[in-house]
Subunit: 297 residues, 2 copies
């Protein structure tokens, strides 16, 4: 399962009652954070979540509202006597940006592993499979797909048929390969995993629809509400709530959460009826919106 | 008069119920901001103060909790269609730090004037006279004195005696020199000005006492409470509340506000009785603590 907390829902600038958008994803006690604008560390504290388990930070792009809380977060992680390395992923420019920001954090008691990635790259973080999706924001920008595989059910009959020694069953079940035996020899067919998409700061992306087929949760841009904002969204390389709802519909997602509301969209709930007509199962998220995504079988 | 708002009172890291220390000083509609940690722009909004009148930012030093909100603030000032230049003052290193941070704000619709200053330097900002005081924090660090002069009362008798044409009286009264006449020719003796000191992140400073003689307000470090924290304060180049209270006593200040509480000092009000025994007129400041300092005569 994945515990999901949308720490903030704002875009552009933090507001007294709205933190900047950032997603906290916990799987088996290990945490991925997506984006880290000014105040994200405060949002984590307010949501009563922990800093220590954060192993990986995914950055969508380097506009300040997605990055400028990083310096403070890195320091706070250091103050928690962290010494495990921290992995940071982001589009091209990551090293230039982080190395510049380190003027304020020249010394940290842990290592930063900086990984510049592109749309289509796939890697594993915190036991989850991450896929970078090229976004269309006028500058290098990524959306992220998160997938948690669900192994087949343990099948003792199959294990016996394959002659797997009883002593190895437990570890094989957990996915380890050992003494020439593989998990497949004790497990049934793979089951349905958990899929999540996080995409903001972009024109509507077909790739989000393709990746997000039957996604358990899509967290998509709610910068603007109402059809009359289409032009403004296009000009600024953002999406409207209606456009995001259409992506969720086309993907056949189970649920859609909006985030990254413009400061000029102070009451996104006013658009609830309108977006529900497009995609009924959507949530006008508030800061610290939470859920737990579980395997269905 | 000077309107004073202590936007936040925290040190080290922002907390959900405590913004980082920053002082907003308004005189005749012009604003000086001292320090700008993560979340300061949110604190300004929460205090319902304005961004536009900020003309000058004074930075004490370049630890992140005093600077890392600057990127967001600069952007927000830009979004308010500012085109007037912004003056930033700070100790040596200012240009290196700001130029590095500009990786996140490469383009602004206004100029930044960066002024590296040292203890003893005096300059005028927003109609107030600023004095930099060398602090003792283990790295370049300044405290700031702010002084608002109070010209003498208009003296029509003196103006007549000096043969000043009636038509010039008004402008001379306001401090302009004109047509060879000076304000002194129409004004009586200078009156008592307004004096304020802002000093955090330092061992107790004799210079703060010297500058702060009879200060109307001292805003001093409250990092730690209780005598048993003297050693910790010394090690980390900070001051305890008791030490700050002794500075205010020695200076004969009218009032002392504490700020820059450590996250490990969540209830500084527990030390109120103790510090009041040293210096009675002190305030265990909360975020958005306000006052208006007025001329006494």
């Amino acid at each position: 399962m994945i515990d999901v907390c949308l720490l903030g829902t704002g875009g552009m600038m933090p507001l007294p009652d709205r933190f900047l958008t950032s997603l906290y994803l916990r799987h088996e006690g290990r945490v991925i954070l997506i984006d880290c604008g000014e105040g994200t560390q405060t949002a984590i504290r307010k949501a009563e979540l922990r800093f220590k388990p954060i192993e990986t930070i995914l950055l969508t792009h380097y506009h300040a509202d997605h990055v400028s809380g990083l310096v403070g977060l890195l320091l706070t992680l250091g103050n928690e006597s962290r010494n495990e390395p921290l992995d940071i992923y982001g589009p091209v420019g990551l090293k230039r940006v982080i190395n510049a920001l380190r003027v304020l954090v020249p010394e940290l008691p842990y290592e930063l592993n900086l990984n510049e990635i592109s749309g289509g790259d796939t890697f594993t973080a915190c036991g989850m499979e991450i896929t970078a999706i090229e976004a269309d924001h006028g500058i290098p920008c990524l959306s992220y797909g998160v997938f948690l595989k669900h192994a087949g059910k343990f099948d003792p009959e199959k294990a016996r048929q394959n002659g797997v020694p009883l002593a190895l069953w437990g570890r094989l079940q957990k996915g380890e390969s050992i003494e020439g035996y593989t998990p497949e020899q004790v497990l049934g067919e793979k089951r349905q995993g958990i899929k999540l998409v996080y995409s903001t700061d972009t024109l509507p992306l077909d790739e989000v629809v393709r990746y997000g087929q039957n996604a358990d949760l899509m967290v998509l841009e709610g910068m603007f509400g109402g059809e009359e904002k289409n032009e403004r969204a296009e000009l600024t390389h953002h999406s409207t709530m209606n456009q995001s709802a259409r992506l969720a519909l086309r993907a056949g997602a189970k649920q859609l959460w909006f985030t990254h509301y413009s400061p000029a969209n102070p009451h996104p709930e006013e658009f609830e009826n309108e977006v529900r007509e497009i995609f009924p199962n959507c949530v006008i998220s508030c800061d610290a919106q939470r859920t737990t995504l579980r395997f269905v079988d």
